[in-house]
């Protein structure tokens, strides 16, 4: 597996950007600056980064309620993301979606999703489109261990398997569905083995190692592009913060958290590239400084942006409102 210098820099910058973005939101949420809920991705950066390192803007991803990392790795503008989460008119979705609905179709980001298990059917739709059009586009469907129990996920796996769709299912198993361990919520707890029953290759990968994720997804993307069908990847990872901001995290112990933090994806990556002279300390430090500046600028941008005009509340929906003769506004039959 050859990863060139620019790609290594991109990997580090992407993981560092996600971490800094989430740490900033953690602070700002506690200070009461963020409307609505946020679910932070800190700790899981290696998964989104390792996956998206193999994709282009023409490829698609579907995301989850914990979608900031996916957005950043897929190239969504960080300023617009921050403004969106602050509910401002300059946001990626004009401030009307918030944390759980950030989308940017031009970047192939089909949307974060507040519905647990909402992504797989969308990913199959995107995959079917690519297949019918004869393009080589790939769709990656991110979801969690909780969503692995949802009927929509099972249906998506079945459809993708039956139709041999170019879809890669990436289960981010962070050990807890909200506050519940798979030990209590996933019957036949072996998520990767469960997927094998849908007739597709299935692997479990160390989700704290961006290089391991990158290598596995590279193979899965190759399979999808050459028409060999879907792949299932269980990325075993860990989230540093609670399920949502405000979660007091009483369901796991400090020793477990420390063990996972000792295998932090950023620390491991730095160790590998520095020890083998692939990147320099100066390059990594420059990225750290650059990311810090970018996040500060994003916060300033969000702070200084206006709230959406109330007239905008009924625009950008599937059906313009008010639309006459449409249910439920049409007149009742005489």
């Amino acid at each position: 597996m050859d990863i060139n210098h620019d790609k290594l820099l991109w990997m580090y910058k992407t993981m560092r950007s996600i971490r800094a973005f989430e740490d900033q939101l953690h602070t700002d949420f506690a200070a009461g600056k963020i409307p609505g809920f946020v679910h932070l991705y800190a700790g899981e950066e290696a998964v989104a980064t390792g996956v998206c390192a193999n994709l282009t803007d023409r490829d698609y991803i579907t995301s989850t309620h914990r979608g900031h990392g996916h957005c950043i790795a897929k190239g969504v503008d960080i300023k617009e993301m921050m403004a969106e989460i602050h509910g401002k008119a300059t946001g990626a979705c004009k401030g009307k979606g918030g944390s759980m609905h950030i989308a940017d179709v031009n970047k192939g980001m089909l949307g974060a999703n507040g519905i647990v298990g909402g992504g797989p059917p969308l990913a199959c739709g995107a995959g079917l489109t690519a297949k019918l059009k004869g393009t080589d586009q790939v769709t990656v469907c991110f979801f969690g261990d909780g969503a692995s129990n949802q009927g929509t996920t099972m249906e998506g796996l079945n459809l993708a398997g039956v139709w041999k769709l170019p879809v890669i299912f990436v289960c981010e198993n962070n050990g807890y569905a909200e506050t519940t361990s798979p030990q209590y919520s996933v019957s036949g707890q072996d998520i990767a083995a469960r997927a094998r029953g849908f007739g597709m290759p299935s692997v479990a990968i160390d989700g704290l190692d961006v290089l391991a994720i990158h290598e596995a997804v590279r193979e899965a993307v190759s399979r999808a592009r050459r028409g060999d069908g879907p792949t299932f990847i269980e990325a075993q990872t860990y989230r540093y913060y609670g399920h949502f901001e405000g979660d007091t995290v009483k369901y796991r112990d400090k020793d477990e958290e420390e063990q996972y933090r000792s295998r932090d994806c950023l620390l491991r990556f730095r160790g590998v590239v520095l020890e083998h002279g692939l990147l320099t300390q100066a390059e990594l430090d420059a990225i750290d400084a650059d990311v810090k500046k970018t996040i500060a600028e994003a916060v300033a941008f969000a702070d200084s942006s206006p709230l959406p005009d109330t007239k905008e509340i009924l625009t950008d929906v599937y059906v313009s409102f008010p639309e006459k003769e449409m249910w439920p506004f049409q007149a009742a039959p005489a």
Partner: protein, 342 residues
């Protein structure tokens, strides 16, 4: 108390070789079933206590659910790292506290980790991995009976030393002391022309360079099969094999199953048999990794040197069929007739 430890690796049988090769997915629920059968075998021959390594899947807990046993079975109370290191820590704790045998569920990689800490406590390796040369494809009830017989002292002659490869990194020595063994391999150690450890498995035949084997029986899978197909079994049981492999079309082209479904030709440009204590010096100008028992483990900097030494005194291993045979010949399994009620 006659105690046996069980170490079941929940991660075995799921790595990238299911994607880049044709490896089977080994379901953890099957491992639960295997542990149950082992426990029943252990109980049947007189083992008094069993410790099971805790794991994220809960293989031990699930195995005990609804299983009625008279013996004392518990999940080992241990510090966990939530990584492969748990297998080594569990083995160490079990051995330190008097376990007489260790049962492992995993592949070559799992057994390598456990063997680092097993010392003279015999292993009963049950295959649930991908490249399986060290562990046996054996029915778990038989394995349980055999382990129990050894633990209870009925079949000590069924235990033998397996060889291992010692990895010695001169750079790792400090204060001018003799370099120590930093790692081991049970079946194969191979230099692989890859910069990163990443997803660990190896599958690209064109990247294989130096290979050291503890065994090369024909019929093996993985890198051991290259030696097996080259030599046709023509070596002594205590000997190892060194193979120099290079890309291109020179040398002897050997076709071998280097992974599940991966039947590839490799160019062996040199080879020699190794006796216990013999060393192979590794030094490459290109960035490489050292793969141990099929998994990339150690990054090798260009120009750095390390040594691979064949060691005849590796882990102790139970020959299950021999253990059963010994007990059977001693009449262990023959019970007196039941008395008539009247």
């Amino acid at each position: 108390m006659i105690t046996v430890g069980i170490i079941a690796n929940p991660a075995s049988g799921k790595d990238i070789r299911r994607l880049v090769a044709h490896g089977s997915v080994f379901d953890n629920d099957e491992k639960v079933s295997i542990v149950r059968r082992v426990l029943l075998g252990l109980e049947a021959v007189g083992v008094e206590r069993v410790w099971i390594m805790p794991d994220s899947f809960g293989i031990g807990l699930k195995a005990l659910h609804t299983l009625k046993l008279e013996i004392d079975v518990s999940i080992l109370d241990m510090r966990r790292t939530f990584s492969q290191e748990d297998s080594r820590l569990a083995a160490q704790q079990m051995v330190d506290n008097g376990a007489r045998c260790l049962v492992t569920l995993g592949g070559d990689g799992t057994n390598r980790i456990v063997a680092k800490a097993s010392r003279d406590v015999p292993l009963m390796p049950i295959s649930t991995g991908t490249n399986n040369v060290f562990p046996n494809m054996i029915e778990a009830s038989i394995a349980g009976l055999a382990v129990g017989l050894v633990a209870c002292g009925y079949a000590g002659e069924a235990v033998h030393h397996a060889p291992q490869i010692d990895v010695i990194q001169p750079e790792a020595s400090q204060d001018g002391r003799q370099p120590e063994v930093s790692d081991i391999a049970l079946v194969d150690a191979a230099v692989y022309a890859e910069r990163f450890i990443a997803s660990r498995a190896i599958w690209d035949a064109s990247k294989i360079r130096d290979v050291v084997l503890t065994r090369a029986e024909p019929g093996n899978i993985g890198l051991s099969s290259i030696g097996g197909h080259l030599l046709g079994g023509d070596y002594q049981p205590d000997q190892g094999v060194y193979l120099k492999v290079e890309p291109g079309n020179h040398g002897t082209r050997v076709v071998a199953p280097i992974g599940p479904g991966l039947i590839r030709a490799v160019n062996v440009t040199d080879h020699r048999l190794l006796s216990p204590g013999d060393e192979v010096i590794i030094n490459h100008a290109e960035p490489c990794v050292l793969a141990l028992d099929g998994e990339r483990e150690i990054q090798i900097k260009p120009g750095s040197t390390l040594r691979l030494r064949l060691n005849a005194n590796g882990p102790q291993v139970i020959d299950a069929h021999k253990a059963i045979e010994l007990a059977a010949k001693a009449g262990f399994f023959i019970q007196p007739p039941e008395k008539d009620e009247d």
